[in-house]
């Protein structure tokens, strides 16, 4: 089986001896040891495996590794800044204590991050729409929605600060 390389969280990582039709999910988890991306259904139904490919949310269980070789992949492990400052979504998730079991939350946060990067001030309807591919079996939906608004406010405050300096 061939060797490939993937660009994950800003690093180019070699993937040895992999069937090119392997879903990206399992390459991330089993080959690269990035287990933050979760397996929930394997069929594109639950969103637990959501990562970003070139900034767009994708279900990594339903995308082959070969179709991701030319893109930039961001996983939950790469969402915080390089100096480990948490993304406003991650901060909001902790502040509002969103998680119950926590298993779906990496996927939820990756979907939410993709939303905020193109729509920094989403309405409830925007959020419901962007998050419709993510199931939370523990049903933390109320807090997820609130945390996305909180993170949007944090982002706005951040850009005002930066704007002020510039």
């Amino acid at each position: 089986m061939p060797d490939l390389s993937l660009e994950v969280n800003g690093k180019t990582l070699p993937v040895k001896d992999v069937d090119p039709s392997t879903p990206l999910l399992w390459v991330l988890r089993d080959h690269l040891g990035l287990v933050g991306t979760k397996f929930g259904c394997g069929g594109g139904f639950c969103g637990a495996c959501t990562v970003q490919l070139d900034g767009k949310p994708i279900r990594s269980c339903s995308v082959t590794v070969s179709s991701a070789v030319n893109g930039k992949i961001t996983t939950i492990e790469g969402l915080a800044s390089v100096d480990n400052v948490l993304h406003p979504l991650q901060q909001a998730w902790i502040e509002l204590d969103v998680a119950q079991c926590g298993y779906c939350q990496a996927g939820q946060i990756m979907s939410a991050a993709a939303l905020l990067s193109k729509n920094p001030k989403p309405t409830d309807a925007d959020i419901d729409d962007a998050m419709s591919g993510n199931i939370c079996r523990c049903a933390t939906y109320t807090r997820i929605r609130k945390a996305i608004h909180t993170a949007a406010d944090k982002l706005a405050a951040l850009s005002t600060e930066i704007g002020g300096v510039v």
């Binding site: 933050g36 639950c46 991650q90 119950q100 298993y103 993510n134 523990c138």
Partner: protein, 749 residues
């Protein structure tokens, strides 16, 4: 070196503290409660549930003795051990909060690690029945208070002042009169030499003095969760580990005749494939084919190519559609067994102003936790080690001990966070499967189930039927209650797990003329506890029918229900597991007030009420819904009032209630399994449509923090959700829902 130090995923305690297990193993078990200094300098407080009258038998020299609730290092670092499995119910945070409160330590300075499994020391280490809170309340507080008292004694001795003059705050002992203070870390070497007081003699704090309990505390694993660090069972990786898949017969009880093992073994990445005969115990090891591979995907891909010939002569042939028809037939005759009766039900019917009859039913459902079942095991050299996301680790140890012929001291289970439980992980079948697989190959193995495995090999919430009949007397009071409950039996002569009804089920103890009968139908599909077992289904039938009777009598549901409760009293005096009608009335009254019961609503809107008592929790809920002409349903808001005593972690408690209500709604709305020829027809979330965010209602949660001891909250807020919503649907559009899920009657969202 201890081998687990090599693992990529290791016991958290080891990870954060070096070889803690070795220190713990040195603790002797001679006394009821004791301290020990540890090699790295520090103090561990050991603790046992056994009373002095029944002392723990002395340990054998090499006995594995994991122990301890509190560890304080000389540098002041405090570690608290969370004793029970965490599957999303929040106990990894809330139980240590109880210790921290009495210890008077700063929450932000504390680390939490999951305790080893030893029920002789920790008491019940299971996550089920909403029991973690009530069974840990005294133990955890006493562990904190005893430690604090030792630290105070040590400080007082150093300062040569009476202990009574010393106070504690934020990890320090203070002597106000002289302005002196010492950090806990500075005191541990002295404290470790002191005799340990009997935990029953230490003074616990009064509620008004709590600094931590009742606050909103963010879950202790939240940072790891939001940054994607390894945390769950499925994240376990060991050196030289193989990845396994396991195929069982889709109809429970089928045996392997043959399989294309040679073809499977020739597939890429496959290391081995073999048949396991199993021990014919569904909760342990059923027959199947194990596939071992170099990655999860290789194992899953090979499993798709697997062709097994099954002997189904003893397998389940169960059919849900046939059961529905048969139950309908059985309902025409009286119930086979009488479980409870009182008064004279026939006279009550004769004297009644209104008599109402109704037929209620609900389907089988899986648990479908977000993390599919999985477990990692390493069986070698006469011992077995597990990384198990289980709700009942000791149950797994017992099963594996029997299966592998190992004594329990040779079996070690590392508690690992489970991605949802809901009762599914009370069973340890995945643990037994991986034990057998690893035992065969002698290397570490991670077994991962596919979602299809998980949905088709569950211990389902059993479906059931209630032929209800009730009467209201001329004064408008409930005067008779009759339920012919039609359920299933697995051949033991008793109802299948989760399919029984309590002889004291509400409202039997509150009505003068009652009859509860039962008829059982045979079943082979395995069943088990599902979040709020029995209550999650019975409350739908009972609380909906109460509303039917109130409507028939032209009475307001709130008043009708309060009349049923009557005078404030425990239905079984001093039994916290029985209804206290005063607490019940209080939650009903408050939910009416908070939800605006009686307010004018827009056309097509309705409010519905339900009360249910389970797991020692009194909970009332009001749903506000609207239904349009096409049966499009919107649940706008659910108001919850719960009395589970004082709240430990306000944030976690609120989250549990919101989750339970939405879970209850999600299940009532669209979830149910079809079973034909012993096979579960649904395989994945596309056929099992769990509610999504856009349909999630607002859930407003209020607590009555009564003076009773705190009880659990993982379950009791779920049962009232479905009947409250169904009663609201009736109020909104006049359609009475007597069969779940709602989509069966044409409702959509």
């Amino acid at each position: 070196m201890n081998s687990i130090m090599l693992h990529d995923i290791i016991n958290e305690a080891e990870m954060q503290h070096g070889p803690l297990a070795l220190d713990i193993r040195q603790i002797s078990r001679r006394t009821f409660l004791q301290l020990t200094g540890i090699a790295t300098g520090g103090l561990i407080l050991g603790f046992s549930l056994r009373s002095e009258a029944n002392p723990v038998t002395p340990a054998a020299a090499n006995e594995f003795v994991p122990n301890g609730f509190v560890r304080i290092d000389t540098d002041g670092k405090i570690t608290l051990y969370a004793k029970n499995p965490e599957v999303g119910q929040g106990v990894k945070t809330s139980l240590p909060m109880m210790i921290a409160e009495e210890l008077d330590a700063n929450w932000d300075d504390i680390q939490i690690v999951q305790a080893p499994i030893n029920e002789a020391y920790y008491g019940r280490q299971s996550a089920g029945g909403s029991q973690s809170t009530p069974t840990s309340w005294d133990i955890c507080r006493q562990a904190g208070a005893v430690t604090r008292s030792l630290l105070v004694t040590a400080a007082a001795a150093q300062w040569k002042v009476p202990g009574a003059e010393c106070t504690t705050d934020s990890g320090k002992v203070l002597h106000q009169a002289s302005g002196r203070s010492l950090g806990y870390g500075q005191l541990v070497n002295d404290a470790a030499k002191l005799p340990v007081p009997d935990p029953k003699t230490v003074t616990l704090k009064q509620r008004q003095d709590y600094k931590l309990l009742g606050k909103r505390i963010s879950g202790v694993d939240n940072r790891k969760i939001v940054t994607g660090q390894p945390l769950f069972g499925i994240d376990t990786v060991l050196p030289n580990m193989l990845y396994a898949a396991y195929q069982k017969c889709p109809a429970t009880g089928g045996k392997v005749i043959s399989a294309n093992l040679d073809e499977i073994k020739a597939l890429p990445g496959i290391k081995d494939a073999f048949v396991l005969e199993g021990n014919d115990t569904v909760t342990e090891l059923m027959p199947g084919v194990a596939i071992l591979a170099t990655s999860t995907w290789a194992a899953f891909s090979a499993k798709k190519q697997l062709k097994v010939k099954w002997d189904e002569s003893n397998a389940s042939k169960d059919s849900w559609s046939a059961a529905i028809n048969k139950a309908g037939e059985l309902a025409k005759s009286p119930g086979v067994e009488t479980l409870a009766s009182s008064g004279d039900i026939n006279i009550a019917y004769q004297q009644a102003k209104h008599v109402q009859e109704a037929w209620y039913s609900y389907p089988f459902i899986p648990h479908a936790p977000m993390e599919p079942q999985n477990c990692t095991a390493w069986v070698r050299d006469g011992r077995a080690e597990f990384w198990a996301p289980t709700q009942r680790p000791q149950g797994g140890i017992t099963s594996v001990s029997k299966m592998l012929g190992l004594t329990e001291d040779k079996i070690e289970v590392h508690q690992i966070r489970g991605g949802g439980g809901f009762g599914r992980r009370l069973m340890n079948d995945y643990m037994c499967e991986v034990a057998a697989i690893s035992a065969k190959v002698g290397v570490p193995v991670k077994l991962t189930w596919t979602r299809e495995d998980d949905m088709q090999h569950d211990f389902y919430r059993v479906g059931g039927f209630h032929a209800l009949k009730g009467a209201v007397d001329p004064s408008g009071k409930l005067s008779a209650w009759e339920d012919h409950f039609i359920t299933f039996t697995d051949g033991t002569g008793k109802p299948t797990s989760g399919g029984n009804i309590n002889e004291e089920e509400f409202p039997l103890l509150l009505v003068n003329n009652t009859r509860l009968t039962q008829t059982m139908m045979p079943l082979k599909v395995p069943t088990g506890p599902w979040r709020a077992p029995r209550s999650n289904s019975i409350a739908f039938a009972v609380q909906s029918f109460i509303n039917e009777l109130a409507v028939a009598a032209g009475r307001d549901h709130v008043n009708f229900l309060l009349d049923i409760m009557g005078e404030p009293r425990w239905l079984k005096p001093d039994d916290i597991n029985s209804i206290n009608t005063g607490r019940a009335a209080a939650v009903i009254k408050l939910v009416a007030e908070k939800s605006g019961w009686g307010k004018t609503l827009p056309k097509g809107h309705g409010l519905g009420l339900a009360f249910h008592f389970s797991h020692a929790g009194h909970v009332a809920e009001v749903a506000e819904v609207s239904v349009d002409a096409n049966k499009k349903l919107t649940v706008h808001k659910v108001t919850v009032v719960a009395d589970v005593g004082p709240i430990i972690n306000m944030s976690g408690a609120e989250n549990q209630c919101q989750g339970a209500v939405i879970d209850g709604y999600s299940t009532a709305l669209g979830l149910g399994l079809s079973i034909e020829n012993g096979r579960i027809q649904e395989t994945n979330f596309n056929q099992y449509p769990i509610l999504r965010m856009k349909n999630a209602p607002v859930v407003a949660v209020h607590f009555i923090e009564s003076e009773f001891n705190p009880t659990g909250l993982g379950e009791p807020a779920l049962p009232p959700a479905a009947p409250a919503i169904c009663n609201a649907i009736f109020a909104a559009c006049g359609i009475r829902v007597r069969e779940l899920p709602l989509t069966k009657s044409g409702f959509t969202v």
